[in-house]
């Protein structure tokens, strides 16, 4: 009996001590901040990076094993999501869009050629990276890719598919792996510009000079995902131009700080625009060009012209 009481007392004491230790670990981890620069990671972040490095082969194996399951799940979900009415509406919308998109086919063709080519004149790319596995919890949208510091990849670098379709940015980078925060993650933010289709070419990332110099006020704002999971652009003035179907591209603006993204990276299209009289800003929902489930190969932009302002 006495032994049992002693065990309970020592258990309680250990519980209290370890709870305090856990709180200390949490505080230290948060204080460490993200690994902004190589070699400046705190000990707890370093432990997680090391674990990611060690687990990479295992994750690759499971990624291959789970691929058919994931694809089947997606097909099932899409089958249940689409009611007959929705399917017909989609069909009609597609037919209408096909006519309107005819003139853009040449541009898309050029974009596809760019995807195959995979290089642009004024971006420095890291090597082509395979997506190893998703990572994180229910609140995050992150993946691990198989390139790291040895491939010239650093934290806070844009990650793209093809030549300039933005996927996200690197966060924590180890020697052979990097964690990528997808643009659908709630913590992701980027300064963006809203440009009409006639003024932007996704294949070349060229924005018409009229957008930056003309009299029309094109919308600019902050891209982010809200807590309900909608990707949108905030802080766009109600007087600024923004219409359904417009392109969303990075603006590359960050005041006097080092630019996090080069201008002209393609993000997606405006799905809807709404505002009420009392609103100060427009409510803009964005349809991203990338689908997190479809990511297989990506590329990290390691440097670009004018990065340091």
């Amino acid at each position: 009996m006495g032994r049992k009481k002693s065990s309970a007392a020592s258990g309680l004491a250990a519980l209290l001590i370890l709870c305090v230790a856990s709180l200390v670990l949490f505080t230290v981890y948060v204080k460490e901040g993200d690994c902004e620069r190589e070699g400046q990671c705190g000990p707890l972040h370093t432990v997680q990076l090391g674990a990611a490095e060690v687990l990479q082969p295992l994750r690759s194996v499971f990624s291959t094993v789970f691929a058919p399951v994931t694809n089947t799940g997606q097909r099932l979900m899409s089958a249940f999501d689409n009611s007959e009415e929705q399917r017909l509406k989609d069909k009609l919308a597609k037919a209408e869009a096909r006519a309107a998109e005819a003139s853009r086919l040449a541009r898309e063709n050029a974009q596809l050629r760019g995807l195959l080519k995979g290089q642009r004149a004024y971006y420095d790319y890291g090597p082509l990276a395979q997506v190893v596995a998703p990572v994180g919890d229910q609140f995050t949208q992150r993946i691990i890719i198989n390139v790291g510091t040895e491939d010239g990849v650093e934290p806070n670098r844009p990650v793209v598919i093809g030549s300039s379709t933005l996927v996200g940015r690197t966060t924590e980078v180890s020697r052979h792996t990097a964690q990528v925060m997808l643009l659908t993650d709630q913590m992701f933010a980027a300064g963006v510009r809203i440009v009409p289709p006639a003024k932007f070419n996704p294949a070349s990332s060229e924005i018409s000079p009229a957008v930056t110099q003309g009299g029309t006020s094109y919308g600019q704002g902050l891209l982010g995902t809200d807590l309900e999971g909608y990707l949108g652009v905030d802080l766009v003035s109600t007087s600024a131009r923004a219409e359904q179907g417009d392109y969303i591209v990075t603006s590359g603006r960050a005041g006097d700080k080092e630019l996090l993204f080069p201008p002209g990276l393609y993000i997606g299209k405006v799905e809807s625009v709404s505002s009420q009289d009392i609103d100060q800003f427009k409510k803009i929902v964005v349809e991203p060009a990338m689908n997190p489930q479809d990511l297989e190969e990506v590329r990290v932009i390691t440097d670009w012209a004018g990065r340091n302002g």
Binding site: G11, A14, L18, S22, L23, L25, D137, T140, R142, L227
Partner: protein, 170 residues
């Protein structure tokens, strides 16, 4: 006669933490994801003495934090919570009902872990949904489904932890 093996318990928790890091991201749907480490801690800690149970919970939590990419400290607190609840429940359980009771404890531990994760994200200045909405659509289903998973695999987990020792007259 059965006796709990601390080594087996620790191995089981370590394997669960590994599976949590490698497989669970594929099984996460909305706010739900299987919490294999917490379930393993609950079942592994139940036959152990209080001090052993608490240390095992901390060990499992540290592994969960180190192998995952989430906020460090949340897993350790969650592991401690799971172990403490399991140790308390083991003092009142009856033979034959332990799987049901431990499954409920696992559900409770998952709910506590979700709440800890929510609070930690809020304290760290990260985005969190409305608490009421998260409680209804996140914590409750997560706890219920994990309790069900714990009930389904609990018997096997208990068999792994407990080893048969021969009677002295055998």
């Amino acid at each position: 006669m059965e006796q709990a093996s601390v080594v087996r318990a620790a191995l089981m928790v370590a394997v669960a933490a590994l599976l949590d890091a490698v497989i669970v991201p594929y099984l996460t749907f909305g706010y739900f994801s299987p919490r294999l480490t917490l379930i393993a801690v609950v079942f592994a800690a139940s036959p152990l003495r209080d001090l052993q149970a608490v240390l095992l919970g901390f060990f499992g939590g540290v592994l969960l934090d180190a192998l995952g990419g989430d906020l460090f400290g949340v897993g350790t607190l969650g592991g401690l919570l799971a172990a403490a609840l399991s140790a308390r429940a083991s003092s009142v359980r009856h033979k034959g009902t332990e799987r049901v009771i431990l499954a409920q404890i696992a559900g409770l531990a998952v709910a506590g872990y979700d709440l800890l994760g929510y609070t930690a994200r809020w304290l760290a200045g990260l985005g969190v949904p409305q608490l009421g909405e998260y409680a209804v659509w996140g914590i409750l289903p997560d706890a219920a489904i994990n309790a069900l998973i714990a009930f389904l695999i609990g018997g096997w987990l208990l068999n792994v932890v407990n080893v048969k020792v021969p009677h002295s007259w055998e």
